[in-house]
């Protein structure tokens, strides 16, 4: 009887996770959980066009099929890809934990840490790449443990078609295989992932919003134009560094809860045993975020929660052996309940669905207007949905060259003179509600708006 139940534990974990994430899943367009990319991927799925660099071809091809399933809203269908991916990751964590310990409740601690983490929940209920790439990473590690050398690199190939985060598993696995004197030939299988990128020229067509055109140079720029994604965190003056350390502490302590004690202990034990694979899988995404210029890359820490959960259960904790892991399990359960309150998109979080609200507001804007501010991703989707040509413009994130600045100023003045200029402003930072209003600025106000390196206009709260 007992073995019968044990046999079904992975299914139960999968179903519980699926129910949990589905409950919290975004019912329609939202900007919460930094899901500004959601509409980009939705547009790519619906119209077979490019998403932002580096393209996420594997995800977009999958989305292309999923968005055509007549169930719920289009956005929800794509968000369910993240839901399913994270649910499978929970099952994989349990299966890996089973290899590390025979104690059932300890085996359950690994998926519980995953489900209890706020960051995991926030990224598993929206349209994004991170849940899927974390699944590919966890799968590669699982296959590494069970000795499927070829399959693990095929999992990496899948990840290569989703997000560059896969490098944080692929490279350590290759190094690990090298030191274990295993053949590195199977690693070549990961290059299959490059084949997904055939999608890029196929989906590249006018209007070119993410890419300049279809020349080789355009493709080169497309793949290399990401700014602020490699180091560059300002440390002098230390204002940014202090904020980052604070954020980092909150995300890790708030995500792991008491299990963080076990994670740190596991990390130390691994280092002592000169076993560096699991620690590097855990630490690399964290170090990436800690040193990265762009604050929104906290979402890149997602794989660290999967591998951290494994570190937490891999070694027996010496002090209060049973008590601390059990306490960690109870905390994770409490966090899961807490998350239902904190992260339920459409109910407790973003009840008005701000993204969808913005989309609906676009109906009141003339079809050849220019909107200054945020929401360009939603505008592009709206244009394709309604065959309109609403233009968008935002002040550039870091630095704007004088020539480009002059072009933008001239364009804004032109649209103002034609009475077709609109702008956006945030009315509530908590819900990120954005309103569109008609804008008739003075020349000075236009100069100010263009020179301002902020996202919003002067009405920013």
């Amino acid at each position: 009887m007992c073995s019968k139940i044990t046999k079904h534990i992975p299914h139960i974990i999968g179903l519980v996770s699926l129910g949990y994430f589905t409950l919290l899943c975004a019912p329609n367009m939202t900007w919460l959980n930094t899901d500004c990319d959601g509409t980009i991927y939705l547009r790519s799925a619906k119209y077979f066009v490019l998403s932002h660099s580096t393209g996420a071809p594997c995800l977009n091809l999958l989305n292309y099929l999923v968005v055509r399933i007549p169930l719920g809203t289009e956005f929800w269908r794509l968000a369910m890809v993240s839901v399913i991916a994270s649910s499978i990751t929970a099952v994989l964590l349990y299966l890996i934990a089973k290899r590390y310990t025979n104690v059932l409740w300890k085996q359950l601690l690994a998926p519980a840490i995953w489900l209890g983490s706020g960051l995991v929940v926030s990224q598993s209920t929206i349209v994004e790449t991170y849940a899927l790439v974390t699944l590919a990473m966890t799968l590669a590690y699982y296959l590494h443990l069970v000795g499927h050398n070829k399959l693990k690199y095929l999992a990496c190939a899948l990840g290569l078609g989703i997000h560059h985060l896969i490098g944080f598993v692929l490279i350590p696995l290759i190094i690990s295989d090298y030191f274990d004197r295993k053949s590195l030939k199977p690693a070549l299988l990961s290059l299959i992932g490059i084949a997904f990128y055939v999608y890029i020229p196929l989906a590249n067509r006018a209007p070119y919003v993410w890419i300049g055109g279809s020349t080789l140079n355009d493709y080169f720029v497309y793949f290399t134009n990401a700014t602020g994604l490699l180091g560059g965190l300002a440390i002098l003056p230390p204002h940014d560094l202090i904020i980052r350390l604070g954020d980092f502490g909150l995300i890790t302590c708030g995500g792991f809860g008491i299990a963080l004690i076990l994670v740190v202990y596991g990390l130390m034990k691994e280092f002592k045993a000169r076993s560096y694979l699991l620690p590097s899988l855990f630490l690399l995404p964290l170090i990436y975020y800690l040193t990265d210029f762009a604050s929104q890359t906290y979402v890149y820490c997602l794989p660290s929660f999967a591998f951290g959960a494994l570190l937490a259960i891999k070694h027996e904790f010496p002090m209060l052996k049973q008590y601390i892991p059990k306490l960690a399990l109870v905390t994770c359960c409490a966090l899961i309940v807490f998350n239902v309150h904190l992260y339920d998109i459409g109910r407790t979080l973003d009840p008005n669905l701000t993204g969808q609200q913005f989309y609906n507001q676009l109906g009141e804007v003339p079809e050849d207007a220019l909107i200054f501010g945020r929401g360009w991703q939603v505008c592009w989707l709206y244009n394709d949905d309604h065959n309109t040509s609403i233009e968008t413009m935002t002040s550039k994130f870091i630095v704007l060259e004088d020539k480009e600045k002059a072009i933008r100023v001239a364009k804004l003045k032109d649209f103002r003179d034609r009475d077709k200029l609109y702008r956006t402003f945030v009315t509530d930072l908590e819900t990120q509600e954005v309103m569109i209003e008609k804008w008739t600025p003075s020349n000075e106000a236009i100069e100010y708006a263009i020179n301002e390196t902020k996202y919003m206009d002067e009405r920013k709260q």
Binding site: L250, G255, I258, F293, T331, Q432
Partner: protein, 99 residues
Amino acid sequence: MKKVLLTLLIPASLTVAYFASKINTGAWELTRWDVHVLSNMTALYFGTLMLTGAAGGLIASRQKTKKRKVVVNASTLAVVLLLANVLGRFMPFLGYIGQ
């Protein structure tokens, strides 16, 4: 007693999780767009200094006498400080550091 104190970590974890949710949902993200922005050049600047320091440290670790180690370490420190000063006066670092 230990157990009681450890149990208090549960409400503490939930409190931290609440504040972490402000980051996770992106609600705090918008307020951070106007933080003081430097650039990847900052990483290059400090990377160069750190690599120089590390190279000096490596050379020092290979010295056999204590006296030599101290001399190499002191020289490295001097070179790093000099480099920090000199590099800080050149483009592309000028204007980024200390703004």
